[in-house]
Subunit: 319 residues, 2 copies
């Protein structure tokens, strides 16, 4: 079955890409086989992350960006990730975007993702879906996340260029920016720039950037308004400029290499963890050990040593 | 050296207990040996967790509780954990409590802990310090945590009885209670009960308890005031009642068994993780593999399989 899916995706069959994504979301054991065979065909998509507090206008900006990207003849995928939502399969964003001009555009693939299990699982699934879209031949993949918590930071780190969207509203745009968000921003977008306080917001961001010290790339601050579309071209130009910077400075290579390093280690660690659970937990020996620790005949450290020595990695394989 | 520390702790030498705690905080390799030898002498201390939003009056309540416990002739240790603070070694709480009557009481051992590295590390260190105090012969150990985030929930789960402290202020006591906090509370304390809104706060907690369904133990709601000391005896009585419930229902046995199960697995998983880092990362083979993945000659899943098969667990021991 997995050969058909892989071949379908490489042939550009939308249905097969959707199928692979479902398998990923359901943690199907076939997913690694598929991702493994898709892998040689990845590495060409450019990934743009869009994050910021709720109500900052992320979706409208993504919409405007889609129009520009399509005019350039680029094919695009959008992954809308909502760590606070249990929904999946396109419900949320689908409803929202169905009204828009892009709904009938076959070169745009939109997918919403929410948590089913752990946040770590969502982050892993997002990474895997990225691979599918990449192999499927998308030129640009946009990842939109709701909110600015740690889980969003974990997800957005798969982006090559990350835009942080803020608004002048109440001045708590800046308050909402945790240290983590400051670090991941490659571009700041002050949306709703027609509102009062936009100047102050830009100044505050600028001051924070001054404080964070000199770096090879200083994140530009772009003012946008989705009301009249002003600043959207500048936003796109900033993305282009950052992409060129990444390529020319060798940063893109470096960042992607670091990501691969982390990915391989994560795969190994997850697999080892599963092996421990399967071999240790629930075994008669483990239950006996726990009761001996309870009665103080044994201590947890000696027990861990004994159990470690009994772990067998012979069948410990990803697929 | 570790024999001297272990013997000292069992002889009731305060200095040696402090020494062991420092080794734990510094992640000294000797710590497992010490904890392993202390373990047969643990299991008698009763652990009370105190948590709640900043400003709820946790420290004053802990102070009042110390007075009652000491009057009963019980020896007590306090671990004050602040996940947002990088301090350690008694600075914060020390300053605060030094003014109090308990400062000169040799039967009270107070220790503040903050993060040095990860929050996971803080949670592990708290658990280890608990063991030291337990072996040191403390009858009651109080764990006080600041705030109500996930890290506090992780730390407070080592308590046998958990008190969640709230105040009527602004009514956001209830707002601050995440689902996680509701689940861990064995006793609710509405402090500053002389303030307006105390009735409403109690009613809201009661309604939330109704919604959460029938359980063997319904957390009582105790009103306290640290101004005139009212309700403090009732708070102590509630702790006593919960302790009796835990013992008579067999819950204490069950919870502690679950904790041991989790602890042993954590020890194994952490050790495996360290082994992977030591054997895989930085090896020439790993660097070669990463560059082959970068050039698409290999995929991360096949690479993880190969690296997994090269892991050697022969020297993978806790101590």
């Amino acid at each position: 079955m997995h050969e058909k899916i892989v071949q379908g995706i490489l042939n550009g069959e939308r249905r097969m890409a959707a199928r692979a994504i479902s398998l990923i979301e359901n943690e199907d054991p076939n997913k690694h086989k598929i991702l493994s065979e898709l892998y040689p065909h990845t590495g060409t998509a450019f990934v743009v992350g869009v994050t910021g507090p709720p109500g900052a206008g992320k979706s409208s900006l993504v919409d405007r960006l889609l129009t520009i990207l399509r005019k350039q003849g680029l094919s695009v995928a959008v992954i809308a990730v909502d760590p606070t939502s249990p929904f999946s399969g396109g419900a949320i964003l689908g409803d929202r975007i169905r009204m828009q001009e892009h709904a009938l555009d076959k070169e745009i693939f939109i997918r919403s993702m929410g948590t089913r299990g752990s946040l770590g699982g969502l982050s892993r699934a997002t990474k895997d879906v990225l691979q599918v879209f990449d192999a499927f031949g998308k030129d640009v993949i946009l990842i939109e996340t709701v909110g600015v918590g740690q889980s969003e930071v974990d997800i957005i780190k798969y982006a090559d260029t990350t835009m942080v969207i803020l608004t002048p509203a109440g001045g708590d745009g800046i308050q909402a920016m945790k240290a983590g968000i400051m670090e991941i921003a490659d571009i700041f977008v002050v949306n709703k720039a027609d509102m009062a306080g936009a100047d102050r917001t830009c100044t505050e961001i600028s001051m924070m950037l001054d404080l964070s010290g000199a770096k090879q790339w200083r994140p530009p601050i772009v003012r946008t308004s989705t009301l009249d579309g002003s600043g959207i071209n500048e936003m796109f130009a900033a993305i282009e400029k950052h992409r060129l910077f990444l390529e020319e400075s060798g940063q893109l290579q470096k960042v992607r290499e670091g990501r691969i390093r982390r990915d391989v280690l994560d795969l190994i660690e997850d697999k080892l963890k599963n092996t421990v659970w399967a071999q240790v937990c629930g075994s008669e020996n483990f239950e006996l050990t726990v009761s001996r620790i309870m009665s103080r005949e044994m201590d947890p450290y000696t027990a861990a040593n004994q159990l470690l020595s009994s772990i067998n990695l012979d069948d410990c394989k990803i697929f």
